[in-house]
Subunit: 327 residues, 2 copies
């Protein structure tokens, strides 16, 4: 929506809609026009923010735009923050809890896309799909002959780091490929048939590939470290669709440069959009610009979730995908 239209909407006293604050980093753009039959949208930069903003009870956090204590100070009436990404490590949840602010995440809206992409990256790394596509496009097939073989997915031991929404869907997708599935997670899940390991190191010792899809917290930062990579071994593969900082990227580069790991499929990096230059020429690595959980179809699911939650909040009904902040 253009700024003038936005202003028009906000000054329209006749619509009687409650206000919702759009909280976003300047470069994060995300149209919310589809919510304007439920709320009037306003940003802190709007001229009318001093009139309507301080009484707004809802803030919508666009993508992973950080929400810290100083932001919350600007939103004195906010009781509810709508997260629009699957992870919530960019929101100061302890502070939200202290201020009695409720938080919902994008929940499962992106989980299927994330799981699909993880499988795509794993097959791609093992079978060298992207690398051989470059080989064909470079005109090398008629000149140099067959491309070196990759490796079979069936029979591989795949370890899932974080058996949450996405991890569970990854496991379900891997079953018909004939993989042996293990996992590590905060807690052992009594309902699942997969082998549980208490640490990522134990899991790596018993895996040919790791799929990293847990939330980023202080406990999981660099959960894939030197020792885990060493345990995974020279033929081991790491797929990361979680957050860049789940993997010690400097160590990862060292292992890959030294052929101490078999390969990697990376959708996330520690310092996005920067990608370590050493990886740029490796054929056993697939590099993806942080888009595992994004499709138009999942955006549609997210829009539906946000609309439902806005309606639920203003009519005092239970919220979907609400986080338990006291846990």
């Amino acid at each position: 929506m253009a700024d003038s239209q936005q202003l028009q909407s906000n000054t329209d006293a006749g619509n009687n809609l409650p206000f919702a604050i759009i909280h976003r980093l300047p470069n994060f753009k995300f149209s919310l026009s589809w919510a304007e039959d439920i709320v009037s949208l306003i940003e802190p930069s709007d001229p009318l923010y001093p009139i309507h903003g301080p009484s707004a009870r809802v803030a919508i956090d666009i993508g992973p735009s950080p929400i810290k204590s100083e932001h919350l100070d600007q939103y004195p009436s906010v009781e509810y923050i709508i997260g629009t990404s699957a992870g919530v490590d960019h929101i100061d949840l302890a502070e939200c809890c202290r201020r009695n602010i409720r938080v919902t995440s994008a929940g499962g809206a992106f989980s299927e896309d994330g799981a699909d992409y993880a499988i795509g990256l794993l097959i791609d790394v093992l079978r060298r799909i992207s690398a051989s596509d470059r080989y064909v496009r470079a005109g090398l097939w008629p000149v140099k002959g067959n491309y070196p073989l990759g490796n079979k997915l069936g029979g591989k031991r795949v370890g899932i780091v974080g058996l949450g929404n996405i991890g569970s869907l990854v496991a379900k997708r891997l079953e018909p490929f004939g993989c042996t599935i293990g996992y590590t997670s905060r807690n052992k899940k009594p309902q699942v048939p997969y082998q549980f390991y208490t640490t990522a190191l134990d899991l790596a010792n018993n895996s040919d590939a790791l799929i990293v899809c847990c939330a980023l917290t202080e406990k999981t930062r660099h959960v894939i470290n030197h020792d885990v990579m060493k345990a995974l071994g020279k033929r081991g593969i790491i797929v990361n669709i979680g957050r860049g900082a789940l993997v010690d990227e400097k160590e990862l580069v060292k292992f890959l440069v030294g052929s101490e790991l078999g390969g990697a499929g990376l959708d996330v990096f520690e310092n996005e959009p920067q990608v370590p230059k050493e990886l740029m020429t490796m054929d056993n690595v697939v590099l993806s610009p942080h888009k595992a959980i994004l499709t138009p179809e999942s955006f549609e699911a997210l829009r539906e979730l946000i609309r439902e939650n806005l309606k639920a909040f203003f009519s005092n009904k239970p919220l979907l995908c609400e986080l338990n902040l006291s846990g």
Copy 2:
């Protein structure tokens, strides 16, 4: 094996092993040293072929090396041809039938790899994995920002052209992704839960993506033709891991150039290793140099199959993966 060793092996009258002819195009190399405890290997070009070749009862056909009537004339005692690829369209089966020659294929040895690769190509085309990998490697992420979104696999109607060994495994793998699966095949399979369509055209009319994995015969040549592509529509995707000639490649190029198809994942081409140059710059196409069914692990399975069949043949036991030539 070096020629001199081969010769040594063939002249070793003490080993008492039966001879097996290696039939291959000159550029097809495939070590068979792991079969030498069962047979003595000989090629038509060997100096000793005139002595041992004409009495050999077995020929091993390397890869898709054609076996026609004139080749069979050179192998007057051959009763059994061991095919080493999943497809057998390069062997004149009618002539084999007429001469009472039995034929086995690689059967399911490569089926899992083929199915895995089909899923990999489908996810890659939908989610633009190879294209966005090129984007990152070209250094465009920090410069041009996010890469355009692909599409979600879940909810898509996937049509399988040929529900044989590979097609059945493709279907099984697709189930947990939440796809609706349909198929066309010579006959309706009573045991499967997927919707059957009598023609590829019917299937295309009811599919968002087609996965082509049937055998190439005179009936299936260009089974994916202009009308099928038209029916599949502007967002439709074609994945071909069967044989290049199953798809009318000229039409495919026209449809892709004209944005009348959504994308394609191609492991095979009509005139390999030549790939239509129009496809080389398309980001909605994944180009793979005919390697869907090849991994070291499946080669190992093939070796085991050939060993078992050689032993079975010489001890008059049933062969594995024998073709019904009278059917």
